[in-house]
Structure formats: structure tokens, C-alpha cells
Symmetry: D2
Subunit: 303 residues, 4 copies
Amino acid sequence: MTQLNGGVVPPVCTPLTPERELDVASLERLAAYLIEAGMHGLFVTGSTGEVAYLPDDMRRQALEVVVGVAAGQVPVLAGVIDTTTPRVIEHARAAKAAGADALVATAPFYIPTHPSEFPGHFRDIRAAVDLPLVAYDIPVSVGHKLPADVVAELAADKTLAGLKDSSGDLDGLRAVLENTPSDFQCFSGSETNADLGLFIGAHGLVPGIGNVDPHGYVRLYDAALRQDWDAARVEQARLRRLFQLIYVGDGRIGRYSSAIGAFKEGLVLRGVIANATTSKPMIPLDDAERAAVRQHLDEAGLL
Amino acid sequence: MTQLNGGVVPPVCTPLTPERELDVASLERLAAYLIEAGMHGLFVTGSTGEVAYLPDDMRRQALEVVVGVAAGQVPVLAGVIDTTTPRVIEHARAAKAAGADALVATAPFYIPTHPSEFPGHFRDIRAAVDLPLVAYDIPVSVGHKLPADVVAELAADKTLAGLKDSSGDLDGLRAVLENTPSDFQCFSGSETNADLGLFIGAHGLVPGIGNVDPHGYVRLYDAALRQDWDAARVEQARLRRLFQLIYVGDGRIGRYSSAIGAFKEGLVLRGVIANATTSKPMIPLDDAERAAVRQHLDEAGLL
Amino acid sequence: MTQLNGGVVPPVCTPLTPERELDVASLERLAAYLIEAGMHGLFVTGSTGEVAYLPDDMRRQALEVVVGVAAGQVPVLAGVIDTTTPRVIEHARAAKAAGADALVATAPFYIPTHPSEFPGHFRDIRAAVDLPLVAYDIPVSVGHKLPADVVAELAADKTLAGLKDSSGDLDGLRAVLENTPSDFQCFSGSETNADLGLFIGAHGLVPGIGNVDPHGYVRLYDAALRQDWDAARVEQARLRRLFQLIYVGDGRIGRYSSAIGAFKEGLVLRGVIANATTSKPMIPLDDAERAAVRQHLDEAGLL
Amino acid sequence: MTQLNGGVVPPVCTPLTPERELDVASLERLAAYLIEAGMHGLFVTGSTGEVAYLPDDMRRQALEVVVGVAAGQVPVLAGVIDTTTPRVIEHARAAKAAGADALVATAPFYIPTHPSEFPGHFRDIRAAVDLPLVAYDIPVSVGHKLPADVVAELAADKTLAGLKDSSGDLDGLRAVLENTPSDFQCFSGSETNADLGLFIGAHGLVPGIGNVDPHGYVRLYDAALRQDWDAARVEQARLRRLFQLIYVGDGRIGRYSSAIGAFKEGLVLRGVIANATTSKPMIPLDDAERAAVRQHLDEAGLL
């Protein structure tokens, strides 16, 4: 099993055929492209990977394809995203069977859950499936923030191997970093404050737009590693401009539809995947929005 | 197929064995008890039925058990609760195969979704599975309210057959009632303002605590049918006091754990189900909390 | 001093000259119009009265004008709206000096306040100024709901004489009514569920659109008094349609600007006040929006 | 008039006598202490200065005292905090009369306000009182975030001279910095991510706990100025530990009461002010909580 050790670990997009089946060939190309670009791991079936839209079979299939391409070169993390413990455990078993190197699970959602119920949730998942477990803190999706002291408690007893922080709360991430062992793997999910995450000591990055510009995040990460903060900021500034492409559909369609549509359109334009189809009920980008994506890539020097 | 026609349609609890398997015998007794008490339908795998905690197999099994007991006497509605369209459709197909008379689906959740994406969601579900479709408006779980004009649009084109309103927003429910055909089935999910729902014209009720005191809700519903509002209010006042039992665990454990634990404890005390086990990661009631449930039932004359 | 005793107590609009000074003549006409229409009290410097926009001098002046017109025929309630206790007490003293019969105060706002600090807030106001004190529950403005048990505690010790509930939470209002003496004055702030408020036992109504159609709310209130719920619902249905006028500017301008602009435009159209100017930074209705207000009034038979 | 030019500009606490009058001598000592410690400006009647609790006379008096002590050595900023434009303008006039060098105003609050109404609000304030105007972005108090494009628009037309960002949203602060002239003064209101604010280009800091440990923030600021990020982080880590003192009363009393109580207790312990009285309805720290404050100061080497 390949071990998680910080670095850039993008949440891999899930290419679909026009009929909304998994586009296996495109996913293989994408995984290979990301590994060749120097990614330190691949996160499959995350939010950017449309996990909330994929039936179980497609989740499994997508994971198997990426595990096959990775072939042990880099660790493959699997998002096991579902409402509560028993349902998450089913995904966790399937992910282990498909060859995942680690699991990424959120706090319970749909049902309002009390912080006193978070530890049991993660401990039961960890007990049921023997793979490193990363907590996924994503309040915008699950409706509550994982408290830093809960994360610290679950790091101390080895329930958790790491944290993917998509809360945007750098204060909270600092609190986790201050209260966990130095090998507890903390990843920032921010595309636009990735330099700040690394500045405060995070071990790695999980940038959605890393699908489109993996090399940019490698440059940013390497600059941070050598403490060259000027270079890191310059790269971050460039990536911040590029990231504006997620807003191309804003107002007309949902922000998530806009962002995922833009990432996939970008991958089509860069010749990595075959088409930009997104899952239902997302609304596709229209022609003007697709042209805007092209312009963003052009300005970022990616065409 | 048995048709939905208003009335009291409780969200059936899902009894579990101490090992957290489905307790089939208890579920059979519960379904029979509710039908005998005069329920006009049964809503299986709803939020009160711990749907968010049940793996797919248990959802299917619970539905089959209730369909078997109902045997066409009353319609059986199946909650097909999942994050987005493709996943909901899988549940919808399974529910139809298991014999459901109607489907109940929420708006997408986990992923922030735009109101422009709601119509496509429900239309795709309706197109995929030929069963009456009821929209489930539950902002506390999915993070957004179903706008009344979206519901009206989907009622007008026959996508939706009804609405289960668990938003607590009586203003919005009135707007739906004012803008849909008179046979569009509107259900209030409120235990404590059920009389108000009926007063403004709702067709039925989906009270969680109807598991424990179905006769009370029948009395309330019948009083409303004959426009005897004094009687309806008196019954509602009694049921409001009884409903306080959901707070027995408040503060120590989550409100949902407290409520579901109390409903199940109540069903044990009334001799309907065998034990009060709830799904993980819910925390069980402690002895003092269980005693408080008993006292609530005692005061309500249910022991 | 004139005593508060339920009924319809509209939050009186504050007419302004085009230069945004108080339009005294218009306010005198409005107050006289409302009293003649049968209002049971007048609530000055409430949210609908643009209290948050009026400098202290204008608040005092508006109150004095209405007190003068009321001349003891009906009680005049004064909103004493400010961030915290010491500032509210200054307004309370000024309101008493200006002749108010009762005070209406919210929970603290701007600064996040803990429920444990609510009782002291209201007790200090009550102790500082000897006038009946009504708590104003308006979460949309102050960011938290007044818990029913806090209201009950402050009713029991005579700190509070009543509650104006603009939370829209009929469940909570029922809890207050169940746990306070029968003479504790509860007012619903809802224009669109006013019948429901009275159905559950509220003593009165504080409808913003009562400025424009006071007679409608008197009819609704009288029907409820004689338990003629069919008549109450019919009147409520008419008022619900009329109330749609608050949305004329939606999208282009803020909802509050739209609502206050529409109320004032309605009063101009009905010949009560001289012009529809609103405070800064509200954006005025445009011609199309003003025409829409006229159409709403026309359809409601108010022109 | 003394010009604002970045640096550490603490929101000055407002010392009170036990009778809750302004403690002039303590405020004079505090202002002198902060200037001597190297503060680059003083922000009077901010949120930390209990502005929301101070009647108008006390606001004016506090401002006059600090202006007198500053005597042109450093600029004095005055918070002009009230619900809407007309009321803010009254405070602005009073602040100019009292000698303020700049004004700090939030977006409107209490009344839900639409972003389209923000520009008019700030433009009217600026037009009414000729002093540099700083926008105060504090969503936790006013209920909405100032959009970066609104700030940029108001910077471009010289309505605003700067921004105090207490939103905690470093992404948004970056967007402002990227889209405003380099002399547009941006201040971070964060005590715990102050280094990150400076790292991304903010001109200064407004740390509440800078009352208690001004020297620490000067060290942090100076380190950032010379791009010595290791030193900045080390100082920040120390200040993060110290900042934990704001939680001493958590749970028992409100967080704001706890924080302001702790700041004032710290100033008493350091011999700067005479006593730790806070405004009503805040609940004072108890003995155990005061002892905890002492321990925090002790551990930070401040006693």
C-alpha cells in the first residue's frame, strides 16, 4: 500500500460520456496526466469528482480505473461520502476492495448531528475497515464544522490519519496543526489560499482546479517547501486569476454546476478528456460560458 | 396500486435488533398497529424511519415488510432519500420493485444546488420510475427550501402528485395550496402545528410521534374534517405536551438522537416493538431519559 | 395612561417630505385614519416605521405627533430600538417623556449576545422606565430568537407585559401562550398568517400592511373574536393577495426597500399621505413598480 | 490632521467605573500606554470598545479623551456604528467635532439591506462629513459581507480610504487588495491570523487583544515588514496562545462578554486601568475565570 505523505493530491474529476456513463478512457488519460505532472496522490470520488452524483457502481468503477493507472506510484484516496456511519462503512468496504490506499469521510449529514456523535462515527468507520482514515471537514456540504478538539482527540488515538480541510477556516486549521502530531496529514482544500495553508504548516493541498493546472500547484508547493514565499505568492496570484473561471455560469446556473462544468471544459480544451458532460441535475455551460473558460485558460497560458 | 388520499400518514419507525439488524417481527407489529389505529397510509424510510442510517438492503427490506403487512389496505409511500438525481433514481427503482405505491424525494443535498436545478431533478425521477412522486421539503436536512412557485410548476405539469412539508413554514405551505390543483396532496410534517396545517387546507399529516400515539392524530384529523376547531385544538394541545418527550436527551446528545430514541422507547413501553436500539452514530438514551419518556406517556394516558 | 388590550395595532409608517424631514401633516392624517378605521392601538417607531433610519430627534417628533392625535383614545406603543441596554434606556426615557403608553424593545443586537444575558437586558429597561414593556422577537433583525422559557420567566415576574412576535414561529408563539398568564399580551407580527396567530390564542396583530388596509385586519380580527374561522380565512386570503405588493421591487432593490416603498406608495394612492419618500440608503420604487402597487390596490378594491 | 498609514491600530477598550461611567483617568493611561508601545494609530468606539453599549455622550467623551492624549502623535479613528445612513451621519458629525482623524462605518444593520444599497450608504456618509472613511466589514454583527467588488468600486471613486476586515475571510481580503490602489488602507481585524493578513499584503492590524499585549503585535508587524516570516509566525503562535483567554467564560456567559471581560481584566492585571467593569447586559467574569485570565497572562510573560 502506498503511503500518504503530503503534497498536491487533486480531487480527480470524473469524466462522463454524453450518455453519462463513466468515460473510462478519459479517466485513464486524466489520471496518467496528473501523475506525470507530479501529483503526490490522487483523491477519487471527492466532491469535485461528483461523488454525490455517482451511483455506487460508478464510484467503484472510477476508483478501480484510477487505482489501475496509479499502480502504486502514488497513493489513491477514496471519498466514502454518505449520510451516516452504516452507509459510509459500506462504501469503505467497497473502496478497500477496489484497492484504495486511504479513505476520506465527512461528518454525518442530512440528519442534524451533535458534536458528541462525531467521535463514534469516525471510530466505527476506522474499526470496520483497516485503511488510513482522513476526516473531510466541509461545512458547506454537511452543515457543521468539525471542531479542532474532536480532530485532535481522534488523531491522538490513531482513529484519524489526517484531515482534508475544506472549511476555509485557517484559524481552525492552525488549531488542528497545533494540537496533532507532526505526521498527522493536514490538507488544505483551498485553491485560492493554498499558499497560506502551507505557510501555517499544512502538509498538502487538494485543489479542484489542480485537474486543469496541476503544474501550477506543484510550483506553488515546491516554492513553499523551500520557504520561497515570494515565489509561492506569485504562483498563487496566477492561480487565483485562473480560478475565476468557476464563476462563468454564476447567476444563470448553480455555482457548483458552473465550477464542475468549467473544470471539465478546461480539461477538454487541454486535450485530456473527451467531453465536458456533467451529472444530472446540473445544467451544462452554454456557448458563451464555454468561450469564457477558454479565455481564462488562454490568459493563464494553458492553451 | 393503492391511491394516496390525504389523512394521517406517519413516518414509520424502523425497529432494530440489539445488533442493529432490522427487527422484522417488530416492524410487522408496528405496521399492523398503525393500520388498525386508522392510519390512512404509511410512509416508510422517511427521516423518522432513520433512512439516512439504513444501508440499501435494509431500506428495501423495511419497505417489503410494510408493503406485505399493508397488503393494499392503505398506500405505502417510500422515502427515496439520497444526494442527487442519479442516486435517487436507483432508490426509486428499488422501491417500485418492492411494491411502493408512491415515492417521496427531497431536493438535492450535500452539493449546494441552485433553484434552477430543482425542476430537472424531480422531472428526471418522475420520468425514470412510474409512480406518483411527492416532493419532500425539509430545509433543515437539505439546506434550502423548495420555492412555492417551483412546486406549483411541477404540480401543474403532473411531475409531482404532492408535497410533504417539513419546513415549518406555514406561509409557504399556504402559497403552495393557493397555487396547485385541489387534488394536489399536501401533507404537513409538523407534530405540533398539525391543526394549523389542516386549518389552512392541507390534505394530511405526517407526524413522527404518530408512531407512539396514532389515535390522537386520527382524532385531531377527524375533528378538522368536520371543522370542529375547538376539538382539534384541544387534541393538539395534548399532543404538544406529549411531543415534549423528544427533548429528554437535549444537551447531552443530539436532538435527533433524543427524538428517535424517545419514539422507539415509547413504542417499547406501549408493547409494540421489542427494543429501542437506534442506528450508529446515535447515542442511546440513558436510564433517566428513558424514565422521562415513561412519565410523558403516563401523563398522556398512553400506558 | 391608556392600556394595551389586544386587537389590531399597526406599526405606523413614518411619512417623510421629499427632503426626508418628518412630514407632520401626513403623519397626523395617517394616525387619525388608522384610529378612525378602528385600530386598537398604534405602534410608533417600529421596524415598518423606519425606526432604524430615524435620528433620535425624528423618533421623538414622530412619537409626539401620534400621541397628540391619539389623545388617549387608543394606547400608543413606542419602539425603543437600539443595540444594547444603556442605549435602549435612553430611548425609553425619551419615549416616556413624549407620552408613550408602552415600550417595545428587542433583544440586544450587533454584538452576539448569549441567552443568559436576555433577562438582565429586559429587567434593566423595565427598572429604568416605569412603562409596560413589550418584548419584540425579531430574529431576522437581531440574529437570535427569544426563547419561550425566557419570555415566560419575564412574564411571571412582571418584567414584560407582552410580546410582539415577528419571528414567524407559530410553534414558539404557542409555547409562550401556554406558559404565560392569560393577560400577557401576545401580538403576531405576521400579515399573512394573522388568522393562525389568533386561532392559537394571540391577543392581537401588528400588521405592517395594516397601514394600507386597516379595515381588512379589523374584519379579520372581529371574525376571529366570534370564532367565525371561515370568515377569518376568507379575509386572510384577500389580505395575502394584497400583501404580494411588497415584492414589486424584488431583485432590483432590497426586500425591505420594496415593502416600505410599497406601503408608502399605497398610502399616497389612498390619499392618506403626501408622498412616498423613504429613508436613505433605501432605493425608491421606479415607475413600473409604482404601477404594480396601484394594480395590487385596485385588485384588492382599495382605490 | 494625522494621516492613516497602516501599522498596528488597536480598537481601544473603554474603561468604566464600577458605576458604569467612563473612567477618564484609566482611558488616558490606556491611550498613553498604547502610544508608548508603538501603536501606529488608535481606533476608538469600535466593537471591542463596547461602542454598541455606549450612549452617545459616552462615545463622544471617550473619543475626546483619546484625541487629547494622542495630540496628533498618531491618527485617531472613530467608530461611527449605527443601523443606517442618517443615524451614522449624526455620529460622524459628532466624531469630526471631537477631533477624529478618520471614520469607521459598517454596512447597515438591523434592517435586511441589499448589496445595491451599500454604495449609497457609504457615499452619503462621505459626502456629509469630510473625513477619510474606512469601511468596517463585520458580517457577524451586521449579517452580510461587504462584497469585494463594492469595496473596489468605492475605493476607485475615493469614497473609501480603507477597509477594516473583521470577516475572517482572507480570500475576500485578497480580492480587495488585488482590486484597489496600493495606498488603499487594508486592515485585518484578526488577532490569530494577523501574520496571514500581512503576508497577503494588508497594511495593518486592528487586534482587540493588542490592548493587553501591544508589544507583541508590534514585533509581529515589524517582522512582517522585513519579510522575516519565521519570526512573524513565532510571535503569532505566542499571541494565539494568549488569545485563548477570551474563552474563559465560554458556556456560562456569552463569548463577547467573556472576551471583553478578559481584555479588561488583563489591563487591570497589567496595571493600566483601574477596574474590569463591562457594560450591561454583559455578565462579569467570576473569580475562577479571572484567575484563568491571570494564568494566561502569566504564561505569556505579561505579569
